[in-house]
């Protein structure tokens, strides 16, 4: 146990406010090794408390240089006590005086026993019926703005591969009805769990359901891998977490053409050994998504949330406000771009329904950045499944570029404008909420023989194209107002989305003066991975044989716009017969 005492109350207050630690009744504060430097920088006097044998990880070339009295290398870990992480050597040693060890090696010492925090908790409402409105997180992630789309709708897609998605958590109950039908694998469990991969703590199953649940998740074209490091009564130490990360690395190395996302909805106090392990993953091309944490502290003191190499996710609520419990990053406040941030993106994380471990048809309400992390993992898996040659770096950039910018209300003291980015799912049907409506271009006439327009008014394929680098072919899909043969050629559409409409060569009925024609623009990626479709675009074609002005006829049709048809629209929406 390492203790810190402050002579100055202001220094202590500052330290406690930064770290959210509690002081003892005698005014001292028990601190983890990772905070010794911070405590000393605030004039804290750090001392070794009760001498108790603990294991530590010492970053040093060879154990022979460790001279702390009564310090033993624990040789039953790694190769004779040597663990490697990102090219660094860490020796597992045992000593009663961790502080002496820390000082001998200028801080290059980590605790093995790390305080692990799961970043989500079941708040209430354990049920076997998903309540009305439960789906708001998916609809939020599927919508560019407000009001949200009424349903969670996905575009037509042809996935090119199934990424491996690893949930490092409390285990997963694959038999839950939300997860049925997925390809799954039990990848790793701590030896002390004796081969029990199932979830008795209610965290991993919920997170998995936010990634890939039928009703609660975002993306299902993936392989779901279970990496169990917790149960309801046991939390892992740094060496065990390192083993779990090694299992992910080894799995990835079996076939590096299969991309991998690793979800970590938990944090530990900053730990350079584990950060080395995470860097092993990210430098190999594995995407790591993690929760920012829920205690309102600075993630710069946490692993992996405080790492620039991983995607750290904070939580937003149903109103698009940042959750009050979010951790933040002091370092990010000075970053002026969206690259190199600690907290990278937001996703829904307050009052989220997910699978509950207590039964295959049970659900619970869940809050925390754990849930947000699960959604971003699902979003990342969708990119990796859909976009050719997307791996960690490119896919992360796509995730950021495709996000909804500026739509959240954040605490300006904790977050920057560059962090105001909300997850948007790449496979979303992007005209969600518009598909029952039509975009009106105008009326063709002798005076107005052509109408020009631009597809991006109603279709955001170019945002997709810019984010993914994929090129699109644009096609016109006609409505049923006239035979296709009569409509062919009356629209010229270039690949930048500009189109020009001219009067089609229609067969006109006697007394027919004007006809409303509709079409859609289909944007099909060259790789055929995704097809995005615009809502209806409409215009009036006019009978060229009618010599009189048709302005009045068109105006009459349009007159219906303002009042009566409005009421018809809302009466219809109220389902009055």
């Amino acid at each position: 146990m390492i203790l810190c005492n402050f002579a100055n109350q202001n220094d202590k207050t500052k330290f406690l406010s930064h770290t959210k630690l509690n002081e003892n009744s005698d005014g001292s504060v028990i601190i983890p090794m990772s905070l010794i430097s911070l405590a000393r920088s605030l004039n804290g006097v750090v001392t070794q408390g009760t001498l108790t044998t603990h294991q530590y990880l010492v970053k040093v070339g060879h154990h022979s240089s460790i001279n702390t009295p009564n310090c033993l290398v624990v040789s039953n870990h790694g190769e004779n006590g040597l663990l490697k992480a990102n090219s660094d050597n860490f020796w597992v040693v045992e000593t009663q005086n961790g502080l002496a060890l820390f000082d001998e090696f200028n801080g290059n010492v980590e605790q093995v026993d790390v305080p692990v925090k799961l970043m989500g908790e079941i708040t209430t409402n354990i049920t076997n019926v998903l309540p009305e409105g439960y789906d708001w997180p998916r609809r939020r992630i599927n919508s560019r703005g407000r009001p949200l789309g009424e349903n969670f709708v996905l575009a037509n897609t042809n996935f090119i591969r199934k990424p491996n998605v690893v949930i490092i958590d409390s285990g997963i109950n694959f038999t839950h009805q939300e997860l049925v039908g997925l390809e799954t694998e039990d990848l790793f469990a701590l030896p002390s769990f004796n081969g029990n991969f199932r979830d008795d703590a209610g965290h991993g199953t919920a997170i998995a359901s936010m990634v890939a649940g039928i009703n609660t998740g975002l993306h299902r074209h993936l392989r779901l891998l279970n990496c169990k490091i917790f149960n309801s009564s046991y939390k892992p130490n740094a060496i065990e977490i390192g083993q779990a990360l090694d299992s992910c690395y080894n799995k990835f190395m079996e076939d590096v053409t299969v991309p991998m996302v690793v979800n970590c909805s938990w944090t530990v106090a900053k730990n350079s050994y584990l950060e080395g392990k995470f860097k092993d993953l990210t430098s190999a091309g594995i995407t790591v998504v993690c929760a920012a944490g829920n205690t309102g502290v600075n993630v710069d003191f946490l692993t992996p949330a405080g790492m620039a190499e991983v995607i750290t996710v904070a939580a937003s609520d149903i109103d698009d406000c940042g959750a009050g419990f979010n951790n933040f990053s002091q370092i990010d406040l000075a970053v002026q771009t969206n690259e190199g941030l600690r907290i990278d993106i937001f996703a829904p994380g307050v009052d989220i329904y997910g699978a509950h471990h207590s039964g295959n048809d049970m659900y619970c309400m869940f809050s925390g950045s754990s849930a947000s992390s699960g959604f971003v993992t699902g979003g990342m898996a969708a990119i990796l499944a859909l976009v050719k040659n997307s791996y960690r770096e490119t896919a992360t950039k796509m995730l950021m570029d495709y996000g909804n910018v500026g739509q959240l209300l954040l605490d300006f003291d904790k977050f920057t404008f560059e962090q105001n980015r909300l997850l948007y799912l790449i496979t979303s049907e992007n005209h969600l909420g518009m598909d029952s409506m039509s975009y009106y271009l105008g009326a063709l006439s002798l005076d107005n023989p052509t109408i020009s327009g631009k597809t991006d008014i109603v279709l955001d394929y170019q945002i997709y194209s810019n984010a993914t680098g994929e090129q699109f072919n644009l096609l016109v899909e006609w409505g049923d107002e006239a035979p296709q043969s009569e409509l062919e050629g009356c629209i010229t559409l270039d690949n930048t989305g500009n189109f020009v409409v001219s009067n089609p060569n229609l067969s006109w009925q006697p007394d027919e003066k004007i006809r409303l024609i509709s079409f859609k623009v289909k944007a099909q990626s060259v790789e055929n991975s995704i097809t995005l479709k615009s809502p209806n675009i409409i215009f009036f074609a006019t009978n060229p044989n009618v010599t009189e002005s048709l302005t009045g006829d068109i105006a009459t049709a349009l007159e219906n716009i303002d009042n009566q048809s409005f009421f018809a629209a809302w009466v219809k929406s109220l389902s009055i017969k």
Partner: protein, 242 residues
């Protein structure tokens, strides 16, 4: 062409101007939000529809040069039409979070704390993304929808929050009484939108803002007495389309 005498905001007791209206970081976030949606297709149901033959078509938008993007309209929520004057205030407060982006909710709440929006109980019925491209004027017009309130006997306040309007020549707000006002960023101009014809002159640069329209609850035409839609005071004359 009639040349009106140029007058400033201070010449009118019914036009309200607030400069440096919001803290700079809130102003910046509103700018970020509005810039962020510039290139996105938007849900933009204008409450309009076309009946041609047997086809009933709701309009998503029209091919205007000025991207008239409706950010929200409370009257497009079907439940709006079930409200009465005693329920609509609470209903609106609950509905804001569903339809109004939070940074604009913050703006709306701030506006509701200043004159003239403290005179009565107002609700921000509609929000409009206000982007004028270079050399495009906002033509003379009156604000308001006849089905929401009696335009001749009520006042609709239009509050425009200016985000990025200072660059370039022109871009002045004007009204039929001779008011001519060149706005500044982070200012709000509140005018009686349904009373005096108004518009915006062409600017040499893009001009970005957001307009919130406020109706007093007492002025709203709510078609039911009890909230029961079977007791509509207003009977639509058109057939309901299936």
């Amino acid at each position: 062409m009639i040349q009106l005498e140029k007058k400033s905001v201070s010449d009118f007791s019914d036009v309200f101007l607030y400069e440096n209206f919001l803290p700079s970081n809130v102003h910046k976030q509103i700018a970020q939000f509005l810039n962020g949606i510039q290139n996105s297709p938007r849900f933009n149901f204008e409450g309009r529809a076309i009946n041609v033959g047997d086809k009933f078509t709701k309009l998503l938008g029209t091919n205007h040069y000025r991207p008239y993007i409706k950010l929200w309209d409370l009257s497009h929520q079907p439940s709006y039409w079930k409200q009465t004057k005693t329920t609509v205030n609470d209903w609106a407060t609950n509905t804001y979070s569903l339809v109004i982006p939070p940074i604009l909710r913050l703006l709306a709440n701030r506006l509701l704390q200043i004159q003239p929006l403290t005179y009565k109980n107002y609700i921000p019925i509609r929000g409009i993304y206000n982007l004028l491209k270079p050399n495009i004027a906002l033509d003379p017009h009156l604000d308001g929808e006849g089905f929401l309130a009696d335009s001749e006997n009520s006042i609709l306040y239009s509050a425009t929050y200016y985000v990025d309007v200072e660059k370039g020549e022109g871009g002045e707000f004007w009204d039929e009484r001779g008011l001519l006002h060149k706005p500044k960023n982070n200012s709000v101009l509140i005018n009686q939108g349904n009373v005096y014809i108004h518009g915006v002159r062409k600017s040499t640069e893009t001009r970005l803002g957001v307009t919130l329209r406020f109706y007093a609850i007492d002025d709203l035409i709510l078609p039911t007495i009890s909230g029961n839609i079977d007791e509509l005071l207003y009977k639509p004359t058109v057939a309901v389309q299936n």
